[in-house]
């Protein structure tokens, strides 16, 4: 593991460039359209999971309502582009900003809350958004949803084939990774991480925790909104059943499976989950059973996720400082 890391650090630019070129030429290799669609799905979920990871993994707040922000982006994009013909590229920004605004509103009550109270509030907000989408018929189409969402246009080119979406999602993913990487290395990102490690200590060192927790929420919501805008024309039909809490849980599973608090983790998690659910399709109704079993097995075997560092605070019981071990013994000893 360490060797891979060293190698990566040494040739960082070259590796990233090669990876990028490989990703960029994939649509030209004559791969079937179906697989390109899967790739699109993976990159979309990778960005969505990444946006959740920005909240859960970096500031340690347990947000479960990412599906709600995603829905806001999707509905904003679909409704505005269909009814007013607003350009897709402008909508990316509008949808993101609107989701950010809602994220800010959601973060207001959560500033005083922590742990599970925060989770249930975000979950509730996500459900409220979904039900509003289901009932506000003039704008969201109600239970009928929005059909035939206009394709994004790129200098007069209608982007309707999955190959085009491939580049949209790739662009968004790379942009997301780049921006997030920069943000995390800035003062803001360090503030988020300090809140994750120890909120009281962070506060005592002058980190304005409420402000940074709120910005953290807004940042995560923004990207969920952006990817929602791109999602709507990609599937060409949205309705409220696509944004249930189960979707939020699924994204959470991607984040935790891949490894919270890492940039690569959510991408890997999204890839694994998407490929797994597609590969297990032949099992028909058993596939979610298998998926659930694998999820539990993963939590037993490698709770820190696929790429998560085992020393991380989010990693769980495996490697811990000595005091915690003694405590674990004290609590668990009686059962033996």
């Amino acid at each position: 593991m360490q060797k891979i890391k060293d190698f990566y650090n040494k040739y960082k630019v070259i590796i990233l460039l090669v990876l990028f070129v490989i990703m960029a030429v994939i649509p030209f290799l004559g791969i079937e359209t179906l697989y390109i669609r899967y790739m699109c799905n993976i990159m979309m979920y990778a960005t969505l999971a990444g946006s959740l990871n920005a909240i859960n993994g970096y500031s340690g707040q347990m947000c479960l309502g990412q599906a709600g922000f995603f829905a806001i982006g999707a509905y904003t994009g679909a409704a505005l582009s269909k009814n007013f013909g607003v350009s897709f590229w402008l909508l990316l920004l509008v949808g993101g900003l609107l989701a950010m605004l809602i994220g800010f509103l959601v973060s207001l009550p959560t500033l005083r809350l922590s742990g599970i109270y925060l989770s249930i509030t975000t979950l509730g907000a996500s459900e409220i958004i979904r039900i509003i989408a289901q009932t506000w018929t003039p704008v969201t189409g109600g239970t009928m949803g929005i059909k035939q969402i206009p394709y994004p246009e790129f200098f007069g080119l209608d982007m309707f084939r999955p190959q085009y979406y491939y580049y949209i999602f790739l662009f968004l993913l790379v942009l997301f990774l780049f921006v997030t990487n920069r943000v995390l290395k800035s003062r803001v990102g360090r503030a988020w991480m300090s809140i994750r490690e120890d909120q009281i200590a962070a506060k005592s060192l002058g980190v304005e925790t409420s402000f940074y927790k709120s910005t953290n929420f807004m940042y995560g919501a923004f990207w969920a909104g952006v990817i929602g805008v791109a999602y709507a024309p990609f599937v060409n039909f949205i309705d409220s059943t696509q944004f249930t809490t189960d979707v939020g849980f699924n994204v959470l599973a991607m984040v935790v499976l891949g490894g919270q608090g890492t940039l690569v983790g959510p991408i890997l998690g999204a890839a694994v989950v998407t490929i797994l659910t597609e590969a297990l399709r032949f099992l028909e109704s058993w596939r979610y059973v298998i998926y659930a079993l694998l999820l539990i097995a993963m939590m037993w075997g490698r709770p820190q996720g696929l790429v998560g560092a085992s020393k991380s605070m989010l990693a769980g019981g495996k490697i811990k400082v000595k005091e915690d071990k003694a405590k674990a013994k004290a609590e668990g000893g009686s059962a033996k």
């Binding site: 189960d246 919270q260 019981g317």
Partner: protein
């Protein structure tokens, strides 16, 4: 006026079922110390256990309730072994994700085993209706509603007695207050937590079949909507306090049913969460007066 009164009655009846769910949820969260997202599926299992009693034995309500309790109790053991036992000291999101996994597992397994269609539960309690004149408007009380409310009150009283008068109840309370201290007092913490989880699940199962009787149907996907409500009701009550959780459940039931009087029925599910968020803004600890154990 009569409509509002009837809706209030519906609210109290539904609220008492929610109260039962919330009681079970609070027992789990209080004793185990971790939240669960598999609660809806536990309710579903309870409902199906009772449903098969109705099918194969006949309309025997006490036996069905026992079966619901037993079925969910057994699922409770599985959930405890898979989701909690190893993860007492691990970060919270791990056991949380395990319960999400269990929820997905049970939901899909139930669709395979029991079938995906909604199954009718009819004529368990006779359809008798009492018409009472209140302030010049008629109040229609169904026998079913009386049965449900009385059942919930009896079960809550039984649980209170169990918690206050028996050795196991006292052990459960001790564990929910402080795990380390109760370990030092010679309590088998793990087994007590298992018992608490199972009792909570059992109550969830009973609430599940009561919902089935109330809506005349059970289905494999019935759980998720109600698990959110149980969660919300329990959070309203401060998560670990049984009495306040019951109050939270009752409040949510009443608010939902009064809410749809003034808006459309499709908004039903919003009220529970909107009310919850409103309460949490002003009282982050829920209804409880003192700041209890934060979970």
């Amino acid at each position: 006026m009569g409509y509002i009164l009837n809706q209030l009655l519906n609210g109290i009846c539904q609220g008492s079922i929610y109260a039962l769910m919330a009681i079970g949820y609070s027992v789990i969260v209080g004793v185990v110390g971790m939240v669960t997202f598999a609660y809806g599926e536990v309710m579903m299992i309870g409902a199906f256990s009772a449903y098969y009693i109705f099918i194969y034995v006949g309309n025997n309500l006490p036996l069905a309730i026992l079966a619901a309790f037993a079925g969910s109790f057994i699922i409770g053991i599985v959930i405890y072994k898979l989701c909690y036992e190893r993860f007492f000291t691990a970060p919270r999101h791990i056991s949380l994700l395990c319960t999400i996994g269990i929820s997905m597992l049970l939901k899909n397994l139930a669709q395979i085993v029991f079938g995906p269609e909604t199954k009718p539960v009819l004529n368990v309690v006779s359809n008798k209706t009492f018409n009472i004149n209140v302030f010049g408007s008629t109040l229609n009380i169904r026998l079913l509603q009386i049965v449900i409310i009385v059942l919930v009150i009896v079960l809550a009283a039984a649980l209170t007695l169990f918690f206050n008068r028996t050795k196991y109840g006292i052990m459960l309370r001790a564990v929910s207050q402080n795990k380390d201290a109760s370990y030092l007092m010679g309590i088998n913490v793990k087994r007590t937590a298992l018992l608490g989880n199972c009792i909570g699940c059992g109550f969830g199962g009973i609430a599940g079949i009561l919902l089935g009787i109330y809506y005349f149907s059970v289905s494999a996907t019935m759980g998720s909507a109600y698990s959110m409500k149980a969660f919300a009701a329990s959070v309203l009550g401060g998560l670990v306090d049984i009495r306040f959780s019951a109050l939270g459940g009752l409040c949510i039931g009443i608010i939902e049913n009064l809410g749809i009087v003034f808006t459309a029925a499709t908004f039903r599910d919003i009220f529970a969460f909107a009310f919850l968020i409103l309460v949490l803004i002003f009282r982050p600890q829920g209804f409880v007066s003192k700041k209890g154990a934060r979970v």
